[in-house]
């Protein structure tokens, strides 16, 4: 490419000498004030407009004795423009092009200027110039997921229902314009013309997938899509066998769980709560019934539902855990578990089970 350009310039120089040759000679065409100027530039006029230009002109007392000419070549992974312009005596020769990177492409825009000057005195001079500008698509950075916790947030445990994304316009002068191009109902943006936008969750993703796409645009030049997921606590898994211990004349059962998200990742401490439906007696009883409650978190990744009753005078009376455990069911209730909030009924539903009490223990079924 460079060899071809050099050859081309040599030809231009020879032809230029002919074309820029004086018609009439004068005695003096330059003095200390005479300067042959060349400018070349690649300007990011706007996010999606690149202006490449090359100019030749002469300054000084004898500028009217000179004819300037410019030949410009623009490359972007290969030549995309080529042109020549010759000005009149004392004029400014200009070649220029405007390109939209969204259609021409991004990359290194380079303009090669070949500047020629011919005077009435038969002088011929030239100079080469080059200028480059790297034009890149704008980019988005930041976490590519946030949480859906039923509308709230759990900052104490580090679970937020929004994530701050940052735009890098990559040299474009405009403030980026944000938009959601896939599943816009699942998130909302805190601002659309800004550098930092908070993406707040509005609905969970459809599984373990980055099904929300966000992009920014600077004057019409788009970023690549930034894929985003709205994750949520998804389900509970039993982390170990329940443990039943004696509590006075009754029992204390611990039922252990881990919480998993939509991508089957274990979740660390998160606020949770339970709620109950209507109780059903499996036999006549006067057992007191627990009140639904919540917890603000737990240690590490495991938590348990601790259930106890110590009432030897009740009907039927409670018993210490037997071996094997008693199969005599006393009552049961539908129990729902929600994550992301300690407030009963708030958060994301992750499990509904039957809370079953027996004479000497309790279980989730």
């Amino acid at each position: 490419m460079a060899r071809r350009r050099s050859l081309l310039r040599l030809i231009c120089a020879i032809v230029g000498t002919v074309l820029l040759a004086p018609t009439v000679s004068v005695g003096q065409c330059s003095d200390g004030s005479t300067a042959l100027w060349a400018s070349r530039n690649v300007v990011r006029q706007a996010g999606n407009q690149v202006w490449e230009y090359a100019q030749s002109w002469v300054e000084g007392n004898y500028y009217l004795y000179w004819i300037p000419r410019v030949t410009g070549t623009v490359t972007l992974n290969g030549q995309i423009h080529y042109g020549t312009n010759t000005a009149g005596y004392g004029g400014i020769a200009t070649t220029q092009w405007y390109d939209a990177p969204s259609s021409v492409g991004v990359g290194l825009y380079t303009i090669y200027g070949f500047h020629e000057y011919g005077s009435d005195c038969g002088q011929y001079q030239y100079q080469n110039t080059v200028a480059s500008l790297l034009v890149e698509r704008p980019t988005i950075s930041g976490p590519n997921a946030t949480w859906w916790l039923g509308g709230g947030s759990d900052p104490a445990n580090g679970y937020y229902n929004g994530a701050t994304l940052t735009a890098d316009p990559k040299g474009a002068p405009e403030t980026p314009y944000w938009s959601v191009t896939a599943n816009p109902s699942k998130v909302s943006l805190s601002c659309s013309v800004c550098t930092n936008s908070v993406v707040a969750s509005a609905q969970p993703s459809a599984g373990c997938q980055w099904d929300v796409a966000i992009k920014i645009s600077v004057g019409g030049l788009d970023s690549n899509l930034f894929n985003f997921q709205v994750n949520q606590p998804s389900y509970l898994v039993s982390s170990r066998q329940p443990v039943d211990t004696a509590q006075g004349g009754g029992w204390y059962s611990k039922i252990y769980y881990n919480t998993k998200d939509m991508c089957n990742n274990y979740m660390s401490s998160i606020a949770l709560n339970e709620s109950f439906g209507g109780w059903v007696n499996d036999q006549a009883n006067n057992w007191s019934r627990p009140t639904a409650g919540g917890a603000s978190g737990f240690t590490d990744y495991e938590w348990f539902d601790g259930i106890w009753l110590d009432c030897a005078t009740c009907t039927p009376p409670t018993m210490n855990p037997q071996t094997p455990l008693s199969a005599s069911a006393v009552d049961h209730v539908s129990q729902s578990w929600r994550m992301g909030s300690a407030v009963v009924g708030s958060g994301v539903l992750v499990q509904t089970n039957v809370f079953q009490r027996y004479l000497d223990h309790a279980r989730h079924q």
């Binding site: 100027w37 001079q125 004057g219």
Partner: protein, 169 residues
């Protein structure tokens, strides 16, 4: 025909003879216009007129996108919108003056059938310099203080470096 051929051959010989001596290597003899020089402002007025023309074209074809384009151009120069418009007006005015000067000189040259005599040529060069200097003063007067400072900073620090030249004696 033979006469043209002889002339061409002579010119070719001249080119071959002259080119090596005339070659310039900007990397070794890079000269930029002096800060705040007439040369620098003359180049800027060209640049600004082209930029303003492009902004106007965009505003005419698509108002909203055009506004964005104008804002981008302002950011490029570090100017507020009003100052950008002012700079565009001054650039257009002075460029018209310079074009008129060139046209006048070209007419004289054409009617005389030969280059202007040196005294006349130098007087045009002086008029040209005066026109640019006047425009610079006008620009300074019409721009906000902050705008003028920012523009000078852009011209002297950034724009000046896009121009290279060589002296000829």
């Amino acid at each position: 025909m033979p006469r043209n051929l002889i002339l061409t051959a002579l010119l070719f010989c001249c080119a071959v003879a002259v080119c090596p001596a005339a070659q310039q290597d900007p990397d070794k003899s890079v000269m930029h216009p002096a800060a705040n020089s007439v040369e620098l402002y003359a180049a800027f007025f060209q640049f600004q007129e082209a930029l303003s023309r492009e902004v106007s074209k965009r505003l005419e074809t698509d108002g909203i996108a055009g506004e964005g384009f104008k804002n981008a151009a302002c950011v490029l120069l570090g100017l507020e919108a009003d100052d950008f418009s002012t700079a565009g007006e001054v650039a257009r005015e002075v460029n018209e003056q310079l074009r008129a000067l060139r046209d006048e000189a070209a007419t004289l040259r054409s009617s005389a059938g030969k280059p202007l005599d040196p005294a006349k040529a130098i007087s045009y060069a002086n008029r040209r310099r005066e026109a640019v200097s006047d425009a610079v003063r006008r620009l300074e007067r019409r721009l906000s203080k902050q705008g003028w400072a920012r523009l000078q900073s852009y011209l002297n620090d950034t724009f000046r470096m896009t121009i290279v030249g060589v002296k000829v004696r």
